[in-house]
């Protein structure tokens, strides 16, 4: 028999796991937004690319570590291609136009994924073959710990970069004040490239880490990207910390909703959250202005 506290504990674990993925996607979105002023709405497709590329590489014989590394690099390269091919040429266009361009790219990437991988669901093995851990009456599978770990490491690396490296300071400066940054010699094109490559890499890692739990399909990116966007809004898009908090919070809310409401409404939870945030506190939990 599983008591209610244990049930809630289980929902919490579920929520933290999926929430970590939302947090990573939100982080990618927020960093790109702050550096370039654009919401990269194709971010979900990079999750797909990371997962499916890793799966294909394994299928042709690559050992896991190599397959995952290459998949992440491929995602980064696609990010670079996207920035050079569609964003940079249109950089003088309005922000709205650029966001619409990212939507176009997401449709293209999804179409390409459909052509290459078909509609089949694919899976990756769990990173370690260990038994699930029992904790306060609820079960935590080892893969969940990897996902949480990835989120923590990614955030730690990002904060180290921003606070302790010169390049990080330069990027933060550019995020704050693009005009002054240019006049100090910072090349905005290079920053834009960095933003898109970086966000592609983070999203790809998220995809690889979550696939052992949820399987991968060509259209997995759509919903994940959407929820990542909601998480970013929830946390406040001007703030990387907000992105993390927003993602984890959204994941937990969703998990509890799935446990208490009819599960068909689970995806609607994200939409409801977004509407509530935009109506009551549009700048998000940690946003300013």
């Amino acid at each position: 028999m599983l008591g209610t506290e244990s049930q809630y504990m289980q929902y919490l674990f579920s929520g933290l796991t999926l929430g970590s993925i939302y947090a990573l996607i939100a982080l990618a979105l927020v960093v790109t937004f702050n550096i370039t002023g654009i919401f990269n709405l194709a971010i979900g497709e990079f999750v797909t690319i990371g997962a499916l590329a890793a799966i294909s590489l394994r299928e042709v014989g690559c050992p896991n570590a190599l397959a995952y590394t290459l998949a992440v690099i491929i995602a980064g390269l696609v990010g670079v291609l996207m920035e050079r091919g569609t964003i940079n040429p249109a950089r003088k266009a309005s922000v709205l136009t650029l966001i619409i361009i990212t939507i176009g790219v997401s449709i293209a990437l999804r179409g390409a994924a459909l052509l290459i991988w078909g509609t089949h669901p694919y899976t990756l093995p769990a990173f370690v073959d260990a038994a699930p851990l029992s904790f306060l009456g609820a079960v935590l599978i080892p893969q969940s710990l990897f996902v949480l770990g990835l989120a923590v490491v990614a955030v730690a690396l990002l904060f180290t970069f921003f606070d302790f490296t010169f390049a990080g300071k330069a990027v933060r400066a550019a995020m704050m004040n693009r005009t002054a940054a240019r006049l100090v010699g910072i090349n905005p094109a290079r920053l834009s490239l960095f933003a898109f490559a970086f966000s592609g890499i983070i999203a790809a890692l998220a995809g690889i880490f979550i696939t052992p739990i949820t399987t991968a399909t060509y259209d997995m990116g759509f919903m994940l990207g959407l929820k990542g966007f909601v998480a970013a809004i929830l946390g406040g898009v001007t703030n990387a910390t907000g992105a993390i908090i927003g993602g984890v919070l959204l994941g937990v809310i969703e998990a509890f909703a799935a446990g208490t409401l009819p599960s068909g409404l689970k995806d609607a939870v994200a939409m409801v959250v977004m509407i509530v945030v935009l109506l009551t506190r549009p700048t998000g939990i940690l946003g300013q202005r």
Binding site: Q7, Q10, T86, G104, L114, T119, H120, P121, T215, K266
Partner: protein
């Protein structure tokens, strides 16, 4: 400025073009012997979307069979033109596809669809136009109307979920289990299963302690499975198809729940095992005999036809066919037999179908009639258990 706008526009156009490549229409044109007029058969199959693991083997089987048939000269020398449309696992697309086949291509019969939901969606369309239709899906509702009479124009080749529910109930009784949890997909297949299992459970003294639903596209059912763990159920029955069936199985195992996990014929393909991995071991389900064809007694009337289907499919496509492919196989063969008897007349084809008895197919031995447009009984299924990633025949 203009040049840049053009480049952006070009990118957008390219992206739309790339995605436009989704509309798949596969036609198997008859090759030789153009002398006699071609017989047109239409098929609406869930080739893409969540039910792709059902639709793909069905499409493959249909293409294989029609190629073989035309190589042998078709039906009485008439080549067969099989037009296969993808409904993307979507009810609206299914209706549109059916309409197109009936109105534009003027097919003699329709084979479709792969899922209960999409099959039910086209019932009205084919009934209004009077086109004999053979579904490959499970729900009894597809052929049985509210008043208990058979839909005049619709048949089906998958074992009815009433049969499945009864088989599961009898297995539970045999194991001495009285309290179960019931998890189902939130669609026509799952709902039909729920209704029929409730009836079968009531008839066999089984209590359903807990009923939970999930979406076909969900990628995490930990919440529902947690509730199962918290209940007093002694076994869990799951009414789903892959991938959700596999994900649920993985969630189930990861929570360490120690009770029999019983699925339905909805998991009858390799995809289920591929995605669930080692967690699939121990799963019990009633299945068509195809998955354990080699383990059947030689005296089994279906064994020959099963083995030859397996070897033909394997030769052409490189892997073993699934039970879903088998439903497509039976639909095609029944249609062909009926057209052979009746010629190119929709109403006569329908009448011919109702007269087919003792027809060994992949899904079972068919005994169709006016009162029974499915024609399969409990003997068309056997209980199996998955061991070491393979289907294992559980002799009664």
């Amino acid at each position: 400025m203009l040049k840049r706008s053009l480049l952006v526009l070009l990118c957008l156009v390219l992206t739309i073009a790339l995605t436009g490549c989704g509309k798949a229409k596969t036609t198997t044109e008859p090759t030789a012997g153009e002398s006699k007029e071609a017989y047109k058969i239409g098929a609406v199959v869930d080739i893409s979307g969540p039910a792709a693991s059902l639709g793909e083997p069905e499409r493959n089987t249909l293409q294989m069979l029609v190629a073989d048939l035309n190589a042998k000269g078709g039906i009485d020398g008439h080549p067969v033109d099989l037009i296969i449309l993808d409904n993307k696992s979507n009810e609206t697309e299914a209706v549109l596809a059916a309409k197109r086949l009936i109105d534009q291509d003027k097919v003699l019969a329709v084979i479709g669809c792969s899922q209960s939901s999409t099959s039910l969606a086209i019932v009205d369309t084919v009934t209004k136009s009077g086109v004999p239709t053979i579904s490959m899906a499970a729900s009894a509702k597809i052929v049985t109307a509210e008043d208990g009479k058979q839909q005049p124009w619709v048949f089906k080749t998958a074992q009815s979920d009433i049969v499945v529910a009864n088989k599961i109930a009898k297995y539970l009784v045999g194991q001495g289990i009285k309290d179960v949890a019931f998890l189902s997909m939130n669609n026509a297949f799952g709902d039909s299963g729920l209704k029929n299992f409730e009836e079968a459970a009531a008839a066999n003294g089984i209590n359903i302690l807990l009923k939970e639903k999930f979406e076909a596209t969900d990628n995490d059912m930990t919440a529902q499975v947690t509730k199962v763990k918290a209940s007093k159920a002694k076994a869990t029955v799951v009414w789903a198809i892959p991938p959700s069936a596999s994900i649920l199985t993985k969630n189930f195992r990861s929570l360490g729940i120690n009770m029999p996990l019983i699925h339905t014929h909805g998991i009858g393909n390799q995809t289920f095992i591929d995605i669930a991995g080692a967690d699939a071991n121990g799963v019990i389900a009633p299945m068509g005999k195809l998955v354990v064809a080699e383990q059947l007694a030689d005296t089994d009337t279906q064994k020959q036809i099963l083995l030859s289907y397996i070897s033909n499919y394997q030769e052409k496509y490189g892997n073993r066919p699934s039970t879903f492919g088998g439903h497509g196989h039976d639909a095609f063969e029944l249609a062909v037999k009926a057209i052979e008897q009746a010629g190119p007349d929709r109403a006569k084809i329908r009448d011919a179908l109702e007269g087919i008895t003792d027809f060994p197919g992949i899904s079972g031995v068919f005994n169709l009639s006016v009162e029974d447009h499915n024609g399969l009984g409990e003997d068309s299924m056997v209980m199996i258990e998955i061991r070491d990633g393979k289907w294992h025949y559980l002799a009664d």
